[in-house]
């Protein structure tokens, strides 16, 4: 291993532009594992918290609740209409300038880049998931509602037992897309010092003065995770959307 790495380093120093030194990647293995964990952790938490925020907002929009509907529409419009990076910068660089933020109890949270990422990603994902869930709720078959009414279900019971489970099934493919979108979007966390997959890639590049090793490894890891998500969603679809299978 050592000898191989020395040979690789020599070839690399000779300046072959095509050369990819796997030793640089392998020698940082623990960092890569850590990076994958940070990416997955951030993405998963943002999706889950986003979902928790999105579900009531989607119900309010689907039910056309007065005032709330308008507010939620505004929220969704702002967060879907602007880049995630700008939202992150607004929270990470922007909030810190206000004295009342620095004096507040939340400052230990807002000072931390990781939390800023989680907040930005959650708010962003909540907006996208609201739209997805709203569409799925609105698409509920008329017969479903009528059956609920005929059985004397209260609106809350109908929502819990029939309307929301049905909507979640219909939303499954788009929620899968949102998962991939968030996984990819989370790469910008590396721009605010987080050592996620891309962060480690850039660190490796910087430390060894190389170009390909860090970035291509990061790309390969993201691709593998994307395939994992796509495969997982396909499995879920096979299970929960069996009635639509061709």
């Amino acid at each position: 291993m050592e000898a191989m790495c020395a040979a690789a380093a020599a070839a690399s120093e000779a300046g072959s532009p095509w050369f990819f030194n796997p030793c640089l990647v392998l020698s940082e293995a623990p960092r890569w594992v850590e990076g994958v964990w940070i990416t997955l952790h951030l993405t998963a938490l943002a999706l889950v918290f986003g979902f928790v925020l999105a579900l009531p907002m989607a119900c309010a929009r689907a039910a056309r609740a007065p005032v709330v509907d308008t507010l939620v529409r505004g929220y969704v419009y702002v967060f879907r209409g602007s880049p995630l990076l700008v939202q992150l910068f607004l929270i990470y660089y922007g909030l810190a300038q206000f004295g009342f933020v620095r004096d507040s109890l939340l400052w230990p949270v807002l000072r931390d880049a990781w939390w800023c990422c989680l907040i930005a990603f959650t708010l962003n994902s909540a907006a996208y998931q609201t739209e997805i869930l709203r569409g799925a709720l609105v698409a509920t078959a008329k017969g479903d509602r009528e059956a609920c009414a005929a059985l004397g279900m209260s609106p809350w019971l109908a929502a819990r037992r029939v309307l929301i489970p049905g909507a979640l099934r219909r939303a499954l493919p788009q929620l899968g897309n949102e998962t991939v979108f968030m996984l990819h979007g989370s790469a910008i966390a590396s721009l605010v010092t987080i050592q996620d997959i891309l962060g480690v890639g850039r660190l490796v590049n910087g430390r060894y003065y190389v170009v390909y090793e860090g970035l291509l490894t990061a790309a390969a890891l993201y691709m593998a995770l994307t395939w994992l998500v796509v495969w997982g969603v396909a499995r879920l679809e096979r299970r929960y959307l069996r009635h639509l299978a061709r």
Binding site: Y93, G94, Q97, A187, I188, L198
Partner: protein, 225 residues
């Protein structure tokens, strides 16, 4: 606030950089998308394989990573090639790399849009054109293209909206776009919040205006249906 107004002309420059990167990238993406769709539909096994690989790779990697790879690895390759033929190293411009990368990424998405639109044109119409003895190019322009545009526009509009937002990351490779300039000046003026908020509003403006224009175009192309 005064700092923001004072920086107005500079930010306007950044705004134009952002918009021009987006528009040029869309043009490149359209060309690449059309090529990939054509390869996918009738390119033989090699063409189909290449188009499928293009789409899989691009969709699997975050935009930011693709942009960094194209910029840094592209620089390295260009230098190596220049060195091989005995020239001095050339600087790859961040602007060109940004346009290239974003066009490359969204070409893969447009390929799907174009392919779907082509498949949505009823076969009978193409056959009718052939039966009338139209040449290939006339068939394409007079029969297929108007319907292609109609079917492709909703997807095209979608891709444009996503593409515009993805231009925010080009500041990472040192381009003085709206985000990069606003962050730099905002931090210097100790007021990044106001500057970033202005950027957010600018992006909302772009998406709103282009959304409105595209909805109109959609209506126009769909007239008579």
């Amino acid at each position: 606030m005064e700092a923001l107004i004072g920086a107005g002309p500079l930010l306007l420059q950044g705004f134009w950089v952002t918009v021009s990167v987006a528009v040029l990238a869309l043009a490149l993406a359209s060309v690449l998308g059309a090529l990939a769709a054509a390869a996918r539909l009738g390119g033989g096994p090699v063409g189909r394989g290449a188009a499928a690989a293009y789409s899989t790779v691009v969709r699997g990697i975050p935009d930011l990573v693709t942009i960094l790879i194209i910029y840094f690895a592209g620089q390295r390759l260009v230098n190596a090639l220049a060195g091989a033929v005995g020239l001095e190293g050339v600087d790859v411009s961040a602007y060109a790399a940004g346009v290239l990368a974003i066009g490359f990424i969204y070409g893969a998405y447009l390929a799907e849009t174009f392919r779907g639109a082509w498949l949505a044109v009823p076969r009978g119409q193409i056959e009718a054109g052939v039966a009338l003895g139209l040449s290939r190019s006339r068939l394409l322009w007079r029969i297929a293209a108007p319907q292609l545009m109609r079917h492709a526009l909703p997807g095209y509009a979608n891709v444009w909206q996503v593409l515009v937002k993805s231009t925010a990351v080009v500041s990472v490779i040192g381009l003085s776009d709206l985000v990069g300039l606003a962050l730099k000046v905002g931090r210097r003026e100790r007021d990044p919040f106001t500057f970033m908020l202005a950027v957010l509003v600018a992006y909302l403006l772009i998406t709103a205006v282009s959304g409105w224009a595209l909805a109109r175009a959609e209506k126009r192309l769909a007239r008579g249906t």
